[in-house]
Subunit: 221 residues, 2 copies
DNA sequence: TGTACATCAGTGAACGCGCGTTCACTGATGTAC
DNA sequence: TGTACATCAGTGAACGCGCGTTCACTGATGTAC
């Protein structure tokens, strides 16, 4: 599958052309197969430059017009992951939260979100613990930003009004790591096993409930 | 460092010999450099067979006397990780828990434990999210066992006596993922930054406190 | 609008290198008698 | 205890292969006049 031979990169779509647009498009054509390969269960650090350019339908040397090396492409993937996370928060903000069974609803929304963007989440979940130190660090930074934004949102919503900002941030950190952990589990779910799926969602919901329960009773020291 | 040339494997220590012992020793000599390389910030899936045998001071072909391929060696590392986790629980059980500031004490003990066995924890933290599916699955199984044992121990200690067994297991699962997450953070701590170290420990302690607070107020549905 | 020149994304060939795996081998350990 | 044979962990050489990187190149897009 996806074994297209290197063809001229331009002969792709009804060209809106312009050198800049063309270059940007090739850049994306390099990022995409990297994600695809990760989605097939490969660790990012085991990908090769040639493999990526081959999938992209571009000559290996062309890679260097866009990235200095694989680490730099990895950072682009992290950036993409960051965008995905921010987008998730924005959606959650827009939808508001139905007060009944809010946690379960959120979990289900999150699950669908992860499944629809499985490649990015596979990358984040896979590289955030292992992988190259520079990429790991970058992912952690994104996570921290995500936790901060989440804290702001909870503040704005008046959830947990008694918590200090540091405490709120700490709790959001816990939520974020739990979320990303769950992402990994969600992606490894075997298809067509609704029972197992149900169990995982329940477990996830319960864990969140514990965390928010703890947060409600948290007292500053 | 560690660039020893391939020498005859036997000429190592005052030989207790015996074919079986000798083979076992070489097996360990293959596992060890794999861990060392991981400790240097390399993902397991980026290691090569030749690299490992080179560090082990053994010819590449010798690898096949011990493992079918790199995945099989990876599973041996997982096994080692499992042993390490079980050992941690055994120690915790033996030491009991001083009732005052129990959580903080546990966290500090855990931190030291992780630092002293940094290689194994680096491996577990690194491969449990990404890496080869078979290894990821194996680590998850170990985690689950670990959570079960922890649940049993808490039961035996009479902690959280009102929780049902499934609920207790769910909470231990949350604790375990938080622990392994923290392991990754602990290992990435820059040396000689006591302030940052202190912050991380505090954060970790607080997160645990939230979880156990939530557990105390948990009511079955 | 037309022409002459500059830019630069992508090409294709070449390089030296480390890789995983195979194979027949050696020689110490183990076993049968 | 001694001898003859079996076992098998580790050797060393060889293989074909994909790798990252370099280089001079081509030809379409962009710019100056």
């Amino acid at each position: 599958m996806a074994t297209s031979k290197p063809k001229p990169a331009k002969a792709d779509a009804a060209s809106p052309s312009s050198r800049v647009e063309l270059k940007e498009r090739t850049r994306l054509r390099l990022i995409e197969p990297a994600l695809t390969l990760i989605g097939q269960g490969r660790g990012y650090s085991s990908l090769s430059l040639r493999e990526i350019t081959r999938e992209a339908g571009v000559v290996p040397a062309a890679f260097y017009r866009h990235f200095r090396d694989l680490d730099e492409l990895g950072l682009a993937l992290v950036e993409m992951g960051g965008v995905t996370l921010r987008h998730l928060l924005r959606e959650a903000r827009r939808d508001g939260l139905s007060p009944t069974d809010m946690l379960r609803t959120s979990v289900l929304i999150y699950k669908r979100y992860v499944e629809e963007r499985s490649l990015v989440f596979r990358f984040l979940a896979g590289e955030r613990g292992g992988g190259s130190p520079v990429i790991r660090q970058a992912i952690r930074t994104e996570e921290s930003h995500f936790a901060s934004e989440m804290a702001q949102d909870l503040r704005a919503l008046g959830t947990l009004p008694d918590l200090s900002s540091p405490a709120l941030h700490m709790i959001c950190g816990l939520v974020v790591t739990t979320m990303l952990n769950a992402a990994s589990d969600i992606l490894d779910l075997p298809k067509g096993r609704p029972k197992q799926e149900q169990e995982l969602v329940d477990n996830f919901v319960h864990q969140f409930r514990v965390v928010f329960l703890g947060a409600r009773f948290w007292r500053e020291r």
